[in-house]
Symmetry: C2
Subunit: 242 residues, 2 copies
DNA sequence: ATAATAGTGTCTCTCAGACACTATTAA
DNA sequence: TTAATAGTGTCTGAGAGACACTATTAT
């Protein structure tokens, strides 16, 4: 029987590096985009100058928990403080970081950003930039971030089939046509309007929020999410099979 | 802009403790049970003598990855080497371990154990023992293991509503009535035989494996899981709503 | 009136659940 | 023959998808 918790196994030089990374998604110009940051070009750092998911070391002085650490990193990059933030999983092994055995706790966040007409003005800074997810997945990313980003996209698309997640990508209030568009953008396929509306209204997670002043065409009812703390699960998936 | 990866943030004394814990489930006497281990009674250790989930520090010398670490801990406690093993999530904060900031990577495993008639002979050792999940959840557990165990049970019960997970709790080959019993035990409710059989066979994740020699009553067709690497997802949940 | 957008009604198909029915085995 | 267990058939209802339809707005 192996003894655990002894002084030797607790030695600090045995401890893995611990990081938190966040895949932050937003809709921009009817496209699902993810925020990437450029790593420092200092050749002392691993993967200098490469694109990576926002993240970094857990600061045991500053972060009271992993979740708070993820919130801090999200806020630092986007200013957003009340996002949809879900734990994605952890990746840890001896080779993912050249500095040594490391484990990262990955989260994914859904936020709302204002639409922009000009793609050039859309970069929050020189070091961080929004990319369409398909484009981001084609890039070479630092560490195992391509794998993590891919897992985030798979998880997001999979949950979109049976949850209300795309609602968190919209600023409130929003209309049902806008919500449908959000689903269609994330899933990359068109959906039937009638079935979509029945499903959303029957799920009863929205509350009415007055009429929009239509820019063109008929004015629409607008809605807010009743409980922003949790995503609603539908009784069936959109497409059966898988 | 905070610089990451500098010598100061990499200092080993800043690193959290890193552990892996595994909630190991098995069916025993028509009950869903979970394996708990008793912590050392050495008062130097945290939570001496209390029940806990099997787990412990990641050994950077021995474990090439978090997953391998979980496999190692599972094998050490049960001898099982090819289980269903899924990452559950991570829990990390400044207060869960009295020794300091710590983060644990939790997994849950579904294994098959031989049925035993006498509950007393069922303890693998003095330090580890199978408990019905409801009983385990009523215990006082070390660290935040009650929270983790609860998350594991919630996740398991939730996934059972739309996946083939309970098949991994049975030794192969098994019959459809046995599989139905497995679902009923995990979910704690009876299911309709006809609907159940249609669902399982339509999902096409089982292959026939000859007839059982019935102890009593009609002999039954027995089945094996086609691909033990992955759980099948059904197009609908068992009960709609949630 | 027309274009554009919002929203509804109707039909069909699939599948879960209820439940009564038949089939095969041992004693 | 009876008890016990395995397995099937039939009906109903909920909800997804297809698609044609109506409703409301600006120009």
């Amino acid at each position: 029987m192996k003894k655990i918790g002894t002084a030797s196994t607790m030695a600090t030089f045995d401890r893995p590096l611990v990081t938190v990374d966040v895949a932050i998604f937003a809709l921009r110009n009817d496209t699902l985009t993810v925020l990437l940051v450029r790593r420092l070009s200092d050749p002392q750092d691993p993967f200098p100058g490469q694109w990576a998911l926002p993240g970094g070391f857990v600061d045991v002085k500053q972060d009271s928990s992993l979740f708070e650490c993820a919130v801090r990193k999200l806020k630092a990059k986007t200013g957003v403080t009340t996002p949809y933030l879900e734990q994605l999983g952890s990746w840890g092994d001896e080779s993912r970081d050249p500095r040594g055995w490391s484990a990262t706790h990955a989260y994914f966040a859904l936020i709302q950003v204002p639409e922009v007409a000009d793609a050039e003005t859309s970069a929050p800074s020189l070091e961080s930039q929004w990319f369409p997810v398909e484009e981001a997945l084609r890039k070479r990313l630092a560490f195992d971030h391509k794998q993590i980003l891919n897992a985030a996209v798979v998880r997001l698309r999979s949950k979109v089939e049976y949850t209300s997640l795309p609602a968190f990508l919209l600023s409130e209030p929003f209309t049902l046509p806008q919500l449908q568009k959000s689903y269609e953008v994330v899933l990359g396929r068109a959906m039937d309007k009638s079935a979509f509306r029945k499903r959303m209204l029957d799920a009863n997670f929205l509350e009415e929020s007055g009429m929009t002043d239509g820019v063109q065409g008929r004015v629409a009812m607008s809605y807010r999410i009743k409980d922003r703390q949790l995503a609603t699960t539908f009784p069936r998936m959109f497409k059966s099979g898988e």
